[in-house]
């Protein structure tokens, strides 16, 4: 089980401080999720012909310089790599699928966490405070983010098992709850050529939504399909290029609280996490209703 955190900063003056605002929210969710933590942040945009690819490796001594040298040598293109600890954000104008194939062949220990123009993903095992420190969450800036603290229920505590999970481009998801039929969903998706990397039930749900959107559903239609096919308890928080979206299952056993302020919209599993946001006492605080899709645009 877990803690979820979402923050969308409406006031442009506060966007450089989104990390600072978010950090106490994330730390506040440590008891709900002491195993691992993660974040998907929507910040500076790559050029239109470029994409940012968030990468991760288990290897603490990984030589990122070698990767960028090989990239140039094999693919004939300069690549920009912004490294922090065992993560890096690669910016390239090359076709993403080409890059994926190249990485799989030459650097199988490097995993892709996300693709997008705006989105960057950082996630790893450790307490939320440790993970935040490792990747410099406090210094980050951007318009909106989703974050998560994890207490693993059935799947393993591995970095790959941490949330957020991503699909397509500039699309990420965090989840509090437990899906009860993830194995069947995984098998169904495998037949359609979509494979899960982890044994994590959240990933199965993420790939399901990815499949629906690939088939042409918009987010709302995809979630409706989800209500039919995904079973179990869930509060889902999603981030896309320009919005945050939140939905709770019909039984709504997993909690969520929203604080809407002129300067920001903040979401968390417990009010405790929102308590220290600036001027929160003047925010409109409420609980989202089950089965309703809440959307906030940047």
């Amino acid at each position: 089980m877990c803690g979820i955190v979402g923050l969308l900063v409406k006031n442009e003056m506060l966007r450089p401080q989104i990390g600072k605002l978010m950090l106490p929210m994330l730390i506040g969710m440590t008891e709900r999720g002491p195993d691992s933590a993660g974040l998907a942040i929507f910040g500076s945009s790559s050029k239109d012909n470029e994409r940012k690819i968030s990468l991760y490796t288990f290897d603490p001594d990984f030589l990122w310089k070698k990767l960028s040298d090989d990239f140039l040598a094999h693919l004939g293109s300069d690549v920009h790599l912004q490294q922090v600890a065992n993560h890096a954000v690669m910016t390239t104008h090359l076709d993403v699928n080409l890059v994926k194939i190249w990485l799989k062949e030459h650097y199988p220990t490097v995993h892709i966490l996300s693709v997008g123009q705006l989105m960057e993903v950082y996630k790893d095992i450790g307490t939320p405070a440790q993970v935040a420190e490792r990747y410099g969450f406090e210094q980050m800036s951007g318009t909106h983010l989703i974050a998560h603290t994890r207490m693993a229920t059935e799947s393993a505590v591995t970095p790959a098992g941490a949330h957020p999970f991503t699909a397509g481009e500039d699309w990420g998801l965090v989840h509090n709850g437990s899906f009860s039929n993830p194995n069947s969903i995984r098998r169904m998706l495998a037949h359609k050529g979509i494979n899960c990397v982890t044994d994590n039930d959240t990933e199965a749900a993420c790939r399901f939504l990815e499949w629906r959107m690939r088939e042409g559903d918009d987010l709302e239609a995809a979630l409706h399909a989800g209500f039919e096919e995904l079973d179990g308890f869930f509060t889902l928080l999603m981030g896309t290029k320009d919005q945050l979206a939140l939905v709770r299952d019909p039984f709504a056993c997993k909690p969520a609280v929203v604080a809407e302020h002129d300067d920001y919209v903040a979401i968390a599993s417990e009010y405790r996490s929102l308590a220290h946001l600036p001027d929160v006492k003047n925010a409109n605080i409420y609980e989202p209703k089950p089965e309703e899709l809440y959307i906030w645009k940047v």
């Binding site: 709504a252 056993c253 405790r272 929102l274 308590a275 605080i285 609980e287 209703k289 089950p290």
Partner: protein
């Protein structure tokens, strides 16, 4: 029944105590409330800077008033006996869960399972509640100024719930002897719950509880929901499941 909105008489500092959750932990505050308070002269307590903390003032067993200045987390006033607690803000899950006596008054909204399994006392919520309000209630009285969420009154065994706003899906599913009064709309009734005609006793009961809560509504505007008692003994025709 006296109204909760009584004038507090300030009789001097020795009767009042302020506890600051920014300086003292919940554990120390509860310990004070359990062990020190009963032996002292203090009868009025203020708890400031609650910032959504869980388990504030659980297991009270002393007559006193407690004012919580801000929002509380889960289980505020859990298993309360004798104390009168007012929260000047919202609360998380399970406010006044398993309350035995006394009262809890929430000025804002309450999250899920408000008053769960309560045996006695009165829970008042000015705003809305989340899902499962009054779940498994066993004698507590609950008065809600706003609306209540889905599956409220699930397996409610005894006590009364008054809802001045609307009720969600599955109201009073598997109801036993508890009675639910709703002024607004009911999205759907649960298994074995039915609407029944109101009686003079109902009006009297509603009036007394509304007065206690300080809400102004006409008892005649309320509908009575009670058990049809078809699930009371397990039989094939009732088409039920345990």
């Amino acid at each position: 029944m006296e109204s909760l909105n009584i004038q507090k008489k300030t009789r001097g500092d020795e009767y009042m105590e302020t506890l600051n959750l920014e300086e003292t932990s919940v554990r120390e505050i509860n310990q004070y409330l359990h062990k020190t308070l009963p032996e002292s002269k203090v009868t009025e307590i203020e708890i400031i800077n609650p910032t959504g903390e869980h388990n504030i003032a659980v297991g009270m067993d002393t007559e006193c008033t407690i004012d919580v200045r801000g929002h509380a987390g889960y289980y505020l006033g859990g298993m309360n006996k004798k104390a009168n607690i007012t929260v000047h803000g919202n609360v998380g899950n399970g406010v006044a869960e398993n309350m035995m006596s006394g009262s809890v008054h929430v000025k804002g909204f309450a999250s899920a399972s408000a008053g769960a399994t309560g045996h006695g006392g009165t829970l008042v919520i000015d705003g809305d509640t989340g899902l499962r309000c009054g779940i498994s209630m066993k004698g507590i009285d609950i008065v809600v100024g706003g609306s209540i969420g889905n599956f409220s009154g699930f397996m409610a065994q005894a006590g009364r719930m008054i809802v001045c706003g609307d009720a969600g899906e599955g109201l009073g599913d598997s109801l036993y002897e508890a009675v639910i009064y709703v002024k607004g709309t009911i999205k759907s009734l649960g298994a074995d719950a039915q609407l029944e005609p109101m009686t003079e006793d109902d009006y009297t009961a509603i009036k007394a509880l509304l007065d206690f809560a300080g809400f102004d509504h006409d008892p005649k505007d309320f509908k009575r929901v009670a058990s049809a008692k078809q699930l009371y003994n397990w039989n094939a025709d009732a088409n039920q499941e345990y």
